[in-house]
Amino acid sequence: MLGMLEFNPELDFKLLLAVPLIPFFGYLLQISLRGRLPHGDKILTGGMFVVMCITVYMAAKAISAAHAGVPFLHHSEEAGMTHGWLYDVASQPSFKNLVIGVFYDPLGAAMLAVVGIVSFCVHLFSMGYMHGDKRYPIFFANISLFTFAMLGLVLSDNILFLFVFWEIMGLMSYLLIGHFSHDPSQKFFHSWATWASKKAFLTTRVGDVCLFIGIFIFYNGFQEFYATSAAAHAALPEFHPMRFTHMWEMAKLVVEANDGIYPTWMTVGGMFTIGGTVGKSAQFPLHIWLPDAMAGPTPVSAMIHAATMVAAGVFLLGRMFPLLSPDVLAAVTVFGSVTALFAATIGLTCYDLKAVLAYSTISQLGFMVAAVGLGSVEAGMFHMTTHAFFKACLFLAAGSVIHGCHHIQDMRVMGGIRKKMPITFACMLVCTMAIAGLPWFSGFFSKDAILLAAWGNLIEGEYFGGPPLLALICLSLGALFTSFYMFRLIFMTFFGEYRGDMEHHMYSAQLAAEGYEGPPPHGHDDDHGHDDHDDHGHDAHHGVHESPLVMTAALVIVAIFAIPGAAGLLNGWFTETVTVENMYGENVGAWVLAGTPVMEGTKEVLVGGLPMAIADHNSHEGHDAHKLALIVSSIVAFGGLIGAWFLYIKRRDLPGKLTAQFPLVYTGVRRKYFIDEIVDFTVLKPTVGFARFLRKVDENVIDGTVLLVGRIHKALGSISAWIDSTFVDGAVNAVGLVSQNLGAALRLFQTGRIQPYAAFAVGGGILTAAWLILS
């Protein structure tokens, strides 16, 4: 049994290579046959099932290795599976050669398993949810390639290939968010999807450019350092400047060579690198694309919010952590903390089911980013894992609710559907408890770890304050709000009475004043293009019903990871597997844990991650800190729960009164702090104006020049045409005429009669003989 769980490079790297290739070939098959592949959806989902099995099996190996205390950093060089890209390995010095391979480590194992499971569930769910959609096969193809990109990103051994997959993912998010932009029958989603897909693509592009610059700052810096440093040559005889393991090693060497202080260029590079995370993981200034991403189909939202896009940003932070200087980490902490609180407050006021979840994703991503910034990279990664499961489940459940309620997303016209959709309700409730951080559910463990990291940083710092204090306050408040708005969502959606078929209810006036969030219920714009229950379309508002088996099955699979027992198991596995030593190897890991030797102020603590005293559960301080964090997180979780219960079950008139009391605050939050408007005014308007100006220049100056050139060419062309028609055609005609006349003459000999032919033959024979004789 244990032998099966030992890592076997020869076989396992082939399996790992198959992991991204299965969805990739599925994509090729589906896209090249344009959906003529019979049961394409089932084949692709089957492929994803295989991928899921492989990833889980491989993750079991990582857990087993961590349990046995065996280092688990595997590069496919072990099995000889590398490929020299751009240059041949033998003919070029190694620093010019980009050797690509597969990298499998505890972090990758965890991430890979998450992506595998969630992607399979999303595929499964899509089979029910997207059934009957006009572009159903293309949707499956795209979502497969999306999965491929994320799997490839996790398995890349170098930052450049991570970037390549990162960009493929950006493209696929564009295509998938814009899924309905090709379907004019979806009147509500049609234009929104077009706009939202562009917004997502361009916004993340800002971050991507930053990441690209960051990559090359590091590349250049490491190469220059390697060229002059004897220590680097000794440590790394063969140096690949893009490979993660070598980058970590080099970061350590560079900092040690610089007397334990991160050089300026590393700080600058780190700042650019986290720009990629800010864009992809939707952190504060660039978060605007994520709420609009719900213009795409709900399974895509689940994919983006749980396993792929936003997770990639946090994953990047995990991969680059040893390269980030204390200043960068401070910035990361601030970004994450602010985002966590800021998005949580917006979530309080949304009525669109998916919008609440979207802002909760942004908020939770803030938690993860802040955790990395606080030095506790494993807590961030752990929260990413738990979040992936419960957020995938929440989104899929929301999709199930939307599907059941005939594509209405506004919570004000839902309510009381827990009896009609029991499985969906159960899954959603479990996951809400998890995200709210109720004790012993999965979110509890990970949030607890993050709050603990903040607390540890605060008390170990040289002075009481700075980013750790900000993080502690913001994250605690954020957790409180999270609990509140998630239970608000549950109470509004599943409790009370069903408001979809009521003429007048408590939200009628507000709905009439503000309009619906999401697609309106009565319009025919929601044409059930992707709806498989047209048979009872007329009494749509009465027929709330449970979703088909494939959808609920997918829900249950991801929900399992949120329930207390499984969450505890997950916690045990994760804290065992993903530790700093396991993630970065003994050498770098120890260096990261110890913190750099000479530091000032809080920086020391930030780099060092959790102070040893607190990390040790058995010590007095550790015990206290854990108890404190437990109390805080329980208070905020239950506080949110009770608050939501009080406002949305007990005293339902209170929210209206509160918002009337503070109209300015409410409007500000309700309009999402006017961020979209600010961006529109500061970025879009000037850009569009400049583009208009350029268009004028183009039309007047450049087009004029082009037109002039065209006219000259036209004149030359007409001269050429005259020469052509007169001389060239004349010559051709002359040849034709000669041939024709010659043919007419020769035709006289072609009588078709046998006797003249015989005479010609005899005459020819005689003449030939005569010629032979006479010559």
């Binding site: 009588t751 078709g752 009669r753 046998i754 006797q755």
Partner: protein
């Protein structure tokens, strides 16, 4: 008589055969002309055999020619009959389908 006499007769017969083929306006004459040409060749074969060597080769060739002439006569007659059925005439000048 010397060999030259036979060759002269053979050449004359050959020439007459060709003239028959080319000039007469009846398909049967083509057949007759062909027979004359074959006979002219036969005379040559046998004469060269008699004057040149004492073997059998020339006479064998002649026998073959005769055999093939018989076969040819049978096939040609069938063709002549078909010609007549097709064109309702025995004039070779009627058959100018090759011209089309």
């Amino acid at each position: 008589m010397p060999l030259g006499a036979y060759i002269a007769v053979s050449a004359a017969l050959f020439a007459i055969g060709i003239v028959t083929i080319i000039t007469r306006r009846n398909v049967l004459y083509i057949l007759m002309g062909t027979e004359m040409i074959l006979n002219a060749a036969n005379i040559n074969f046998v004469a060269f055999n008699r004057f040149g060597s004492n073997g059998l080769d020339g006479r064998m060739f002649a026998i073959f020619t005769i055999i093939l002439a018989a076969a040819e006569a049978a096939v040609a007659l069938a063709i002549v009959l078909n010609f007549y059925y097709l064109f309702n005439s025995v004039k070779p000048s009627e058959a100018d389908l090759l011209r089309e």
